[in-house]
């Protein structure tokens, strides 16, 4: 079964790739390429897959998930300008896709247990746009 914990953070970003010229950036990212940035109330849902422990009845300790998500994601990213204040987004475009991959990298080492493994990271940029990352393909 899947166990999911959600956290939210508010941050600003600019979607602008140095590998593309101005016209391409504008065409691809639209208003998200505005040079001074803009912000979102991001939401992150992290799901672990596993079986409930026969003694505790839990797949994973939700308190621990909460601590990990706050330490690795909310603390460093909340009320920040991602491009300037949160590596690697000084060199990686902070699209929701890249955010999901980065959040996976940050939380995965802390969320594996004998009974559970990281299943997915879902990042909502708005209520109408979200991405899901399931880790590297085996």
């Amino acid at each position: 079964m899947l166990i999911t914990r959600r956290v939210e953070f508010s941050a600003s970003h600019v979607c602008h790739s140095p590998g593309l010229d101005e016209r391409e950036n504008r065409a691809l990212y639209g208003e998200s390429a505005n040079p001074h940035g803009h912000g979102h109330n991001f939401a992150v849902e992290v799901s672990l897959e596993g079986r409930p422990d026969p003694v505790t009845g839990m797949v994973f300790d939700l308190k621990r998930m909460k601590e990990v998500l706050h330490r690795e994601v909310v603390g460093p990213m909340d009320h920040r300008f991602l491009n300037y204040e949160v590596p690697p987004f000084d060199r990686v475009v902070p699209t929701p896709e890249n955010l999901a991959i980065e959040i996976w990298k940050r939380v995965a080492p802390h969320l594996n247990s004998p009974a559970a493994r990281l299943h997915s990271v879902r990042v909502y940029e708005t209520e109408d746009l979200w991405v899901e990352y399931f880790g590297e393909e085996p």
């Binding site: 979607c15 790739s17 590998g19 593309l20 065409a27 691809l28 639209g30 990686v92 475009v93 902070p94 699209t95 929701p96 896709e97 890249n98 999901a100 991959i101 209520e127 109408d128 746009l129 979200w130 991405v131 899901e132 990352y133 399931f134 393909e137």
Partner: protein
């Protein structure tokens, strides 16, 4: 691989009434949804695409292109319309949320290659929420 989902809205009216059933059977099967003058919903449509993240753009899909495709094929033809009377396919097919999902999938697949000519992104998932209490999903 990343799955990106975009959510859209449209409002439309419909009546569930099958020409293959009698009047009594239609009333029995569809209940209130068989009301002769129809009724409407604020539909939510989720379109999920899958693909690898392009290294230069950091994206799996051009969201503006996706919006353009879904808008022209699946939102504008239905929004503020009577599905039975304004959409040719539903003159003979009952516009249930199930059939609406299949019709939207058919329309998006028909034009997909013109908008996304490469191997990726692929259309992966369609979900229609008819009300807060019912939804149809094509995985």
């Amino acid at each position: 691989m990343i799955r990106l989902t975009r959510r859209y809205r449209f409002s439309a009216s419909h009546r569930l009434d099958s020409p293959q059933l009698s009047e009594a059977q239609n009333r029995e099967i569809y209940g209130q949804c068989n009301n002769p003058r129809g009724h409407g919903h604020d539909y939510l449509l989720e379109v999920g695409v899958r693909g690898p993240v392009d290294q230069r753009s950091g994206r799996v899909a051009d969201v503006a292109a996706l919006d353009g495709l879904v808008g022209s094929e699946a939102i504008r033809p239905f929004d503020h319309r009577n599905l039975n009377q304004d959409v040719a396919e539903f003159a003979s097919t009952v516009p249930t949320a199930e059939n609406l999902a299949l019709e939207i999938e058919r329309r998006l697949r028909a034009k997909w290659g013109a908008v996304f000519p490469g191997e990726w992104p692929r259309l992966e998932r369609i979900r229609i929420r008819e009300t807060k209490r019912n939804a149809i999903e094509l995985p």
